[in-house]
């Protein structure tokens, strides 16, 4: 329920709705967009970044939060970790989201023994939170080439061509696999896959399952995992360090059993890191849409083992993160709302940006609007602008919201805000890690034996991920990494060790760095600064 002061401000939104519907907000020119991003997008805020002094990407820029983790000693006492492995397996998959589960399923299909270890319960991940949908070029009017061109353009041509090509070419096959497994993508009346348009896409290409796409895929894949008895699952056991052999190849990991508070060493022929993104590092103090476990652990683990990263100075801030009520701050309002024509409205009831600009531009425009006094401030001290959702009932007819956005409707009815009648207060929320650990087309990193898939990986999305490409990415590269990792099962993994960590720490010492951090972070400290 909105307090009285916000209700009064909402009256302005209601009063201007009819006028706004007639209004056409011009699109930004290329130059205007570049200028807007430079002045207001968080990626361009120089003081939030610094240059790494150590490791494979020495001399390159990343956020202070990541640099703090990489330029410090972890709090793990390696001398307390048993070097005799408690488990021996062929493929060790770290992370139980979409990428990890897919890698495990495909590795398992080859006959390899698989251990999947994850931080929380299996499936608790960003994957289940994906609402909008997944890209795949299946429409007659579309093609893999269009998908390729859209993806590279969205990423400002910083994505790697061969990775993008691999993703778009594999997409239809991955969709077929999901359908065969029992994923029920929405269909149209002729039995075709139903397709939606998305921001920046030149064709209708988004597949979905109601407004709960990721959840419904994950439910099925998790169920599928149950029947393969060569795949073992270990929940509540996050990875805290990778291990390497004397040749520098990755051959396992140390897990931390959250219940027993004990370390478990696992040896494997190959490791697939699929631990997802880093929203819970709350870069620049931004709220986040990400799940509790999204603390960027893969970056720390892989970087210490010598893996190159790419694009870790670029993050996606989703324009529409909730700002009210306080306990929902950061939660995502799906982009589909804007795609259908919802307005962004300032405190005076005016639109200030064409809502269909790309995510980065819309986010920057909202930040600009708030900085120049067009924002609405809550009693909790947060500032945002209105997302006029009720306008959709006028554009698309009464009932559209309850019918097409069931999850969103419920989410806000729980706090007595009816989105059919009330706008939501929103501000950009930290949403996605555009970069990550650099991979090749089989998901392998610059460290032999170490594969990465999903949001933790880098090189694919350039400086801005297009809507729906992440769900696709995790299945395409989860599959490839799983298969490629399983091919290593004939190899001798050698003895597990921490040579790479000792070398890395040696370099920190040489730079006279002495700070200690909880790295990997594993869990954010008390999340909400309400106290």
């Amino acid at each position: 329920m909105y307090p009285e002061d916000l209700c009064r401000l909402i009256e302005r939104v209601d009063a201007t709705r009819a006028e706004r519907l007639k209004q056409d907000v011009p699109r930004l020119t290329e130059a205007e967009q570049a200028d807007l991003l430079k002045k207001y997008h968080p990626d361009y805020k120089d003081c939030a970044f610094r240059t790494l002094r150590v490791g494979p990407n020495k001399g390159e820029r990343t956020t202070h939060e990541i640099a703090d983790l990489l330029e410090s000693f972890g709090d793990l006492d390696h001398s307390k970790v048993p070097l005799t492995p408690a488990f021996d397996t062929d493929v060790l998959v770290l992370g139980g989201g979409g990428a990890g589960v897919t890698a495990a399923l495909f590795a398992g299909q080859t006959g390899a023994r698989v251990l999947l270890a994850t931080k929380l319960r299996l499936g608790n991940s960003n994957t289940i939170m994906a609402l909008g949908g997944m890209q795949a070029s299946v429409d007659r009017a579309d093609s893999p080439l269009r998908h390729f061109a859209d993806t590279l353009s969205a990423g400002k041509f910083a994505g790697r061509q061969e990775l993008v090509r691999t993703m778009v070419e594999d997409a239809p096959e991955v969709v077929k696999w999901l359908l065969d497994t029992g994923v029920n993508f929405d269909r149209d009346s002729s039995g075709n896959l139903a397709l939606k348009k998305g921001g920046g896409l030149s064709a209708a290409r988004i597949l979905s399952i109601g407004d709960h796409t990721g959840l419904n895929i994950m439910k099925v894949l998790k169920d599928e995992l149950r029947r393969d008895d060569k795949i073992e699952i270990s929940e509540f056991t996050p990875a805290v360090e990778l291990t390497t052999n004397e040749r520098g190849q990755c051959n396992g990991a140390v897990l931390f059993d959250l219940g027993r508070r004990r370390f478990i060493t696992v040896r494997a022929k190959a490791v697939v890191l699929a631990t997802g993104g880093s929203g819970r590092l709350h870069f620049q103090g931004f709220p986040t849409s990400n799940n509790f476990g999204a603390t960027g652990d893969a970056i720390v683990l892989a970087y210490r083992a010598g893996a190159r990263v790419e694009g870790l100075d670029s993050f996606q801030y989703h324009p529409t993160g909730v700002m009210f009520p306080d306990h929902m701050v950061g939660i995502l309002v799906t982009e589909a709302i804007r795609s259908l024509g919802a307005h962004l409205v300032n405190v005076r009831g005016e639109r200030f940006v064409n809502e269909l600009e790309t995510r980065d531009a819309v986010a920057a425009a909202i930040i600009r609007e708030c900085e120049r006094g067009g924002g609405v401030t809550t009693a909790g001290g947060r500032t945002g602008v209105w997302l006029d959702i009720p306008v959709l009932e006028q554009i698309h007819g009464a009932g559209v919201l309850r019918q097409r956005f069931r999850a969103l409707f419920r989410q806000f009815m729980r706090v007595s805000i009816n989105i059919v009648r009330r706008p939501l207060l929103i501000y950009p929320t930290l949403h996605y890690q555009n970069g990550g650990i650099l991979i090749d087309v089989n998901g392998e990193t610059s460290v032999p034996g170490l594969f990465v898939a999903g949001e933790a990986a880098g090189g694919l999305h350039g400086r801005n991920r297009a809507m729906g490409n992440s769900l696709l990415d995790i299945f395409v590269f989860g599959r490839r990494a799983g298969v490629a990792a399983a091919l290593r099962r004939g190899e001798n993994p050698g003895a597990v060790g921490f040579g790479h960590v000792h070398d890395y720490y040696e370099r920190l010492r040489a730079l006279r760095i002495s700070s200690i951090s909880k790295s990997p972070t594993l869990f954010p400290d008390f999340i909400v600064d309400k106290l």
Binding site: L120, R121, N124, I128, M129, D139, A141, D142, S143, P144, L145, R146, F148, A149, D150, L152, S153, F157, Q161, R165, P172, K176, L179, D180, T181, G182, N184, R187, S190, G191, N192, L193, S202, I209, H212, L215, K219, R227, F236, S289, N291, F292, G293, P325, D326, H327, M328, I331, L332, R406, A407, R410, Q411, V415, F523, F526, I527, V528, K530, L531
Partner: protein, 225 residues
């Protein structure tokens, strides 16, 4: 430390004062509970954080999501463990009509008495209605609401017959996907890729330098469909 108003509540069986405005999960953290097990998305989307609570003066215990329920004066709340459920083993690809096999896969469905105790869904699914449809053979009807289910298992925890409606729903959902033939648009695209329809264009793209690639992408995007 803070000028926030404090409220008194009963948390995991302990009477305690916490600042107002916190969710149940936050109140647990604030009072030293190191909860990890019941936490996932923190957005009300994943169902990891189910709680049972009694509001001050209320006569009926309610159920909800701990990351979304905000604590109030006099609230009595506990987190619920993940309830054990029987899960059937099945191979969908070996069944011709998986819908019709429901009574074999989950025979307990026939034992549902329609008592409606399962209607505690935090996603407002009318579980009893769904089970009724499943029992009566209207599998398509029963599948429809399942898309909103996030498998929190609250319904199963209330069932006196030990039925796990969320797993029944998942079975129906997977079965429904297999009832349709491969989508024609997907089949066509797979054939085109197999036949190398795009190969020449890919070769062209591969040979380009950076500027050329930008131009190529611009052209492809602007081509009329």
């Amino acid at each position: 430390m803070s000028d926030k108003k404090l409220i008194t509540m009963e948390l995991e069986g302990r009477k305690i004062r916490v600042p107002e405005g916190l969710t149940v999960i936050e109140a647990l953290w604030d009072t030293g509970h190191d909860v990890k097990r019941g936490i996932g998305c923190l957005s009300g989307l994943c169902g990891a954080c189910t709680v049972a609570y009694l509001e001050k003066g209320a006569g009926k215990v309610r159920f909800g999501l701990g990351c979304q329920v905000v604590v109030t004066e006099g609230l009595n709340v506990i987190m619920l463990p993940y309830f054990p459920s029987r899960v059937a083993a099945y191979r969908l690809e070996e069944m011709d009509d998986p819908y019709s096999r429901l009574p074999e896969v989950y025979p307990e469905v026939t034992g549902c008495t329609g008592c409606r105790a399962c209607n505690v869904c935090p996603e407002w699914i009318n579980v009893a209605e769904m089970m009724k449809k499943a029992r009566e053979g209207d599998c398509a009807g029963a599948t429809e609401p399942v898309m909103d289910c996030h498998m929190c298992g609250l319904c199963a925890s209330r069932c006196p017959q030990s039925i796990a409606p969320h797993y029944v729903g998942l079975y129906l959902q997977r079965a429904s996907a297999r009832r349709y033939p491969i989508p024609p648009n997907l089949e066509e695209r797979l054939a085109q890729i197999r036949d190398g329809v795009y190969r020449a264009k890919w070769d062209e793209a591969d040979a380009l330098d950076e500027e050329g690639l930008k131009e190529f992408c611009r052209r492809v995007r602007e081509e009329p469909a």
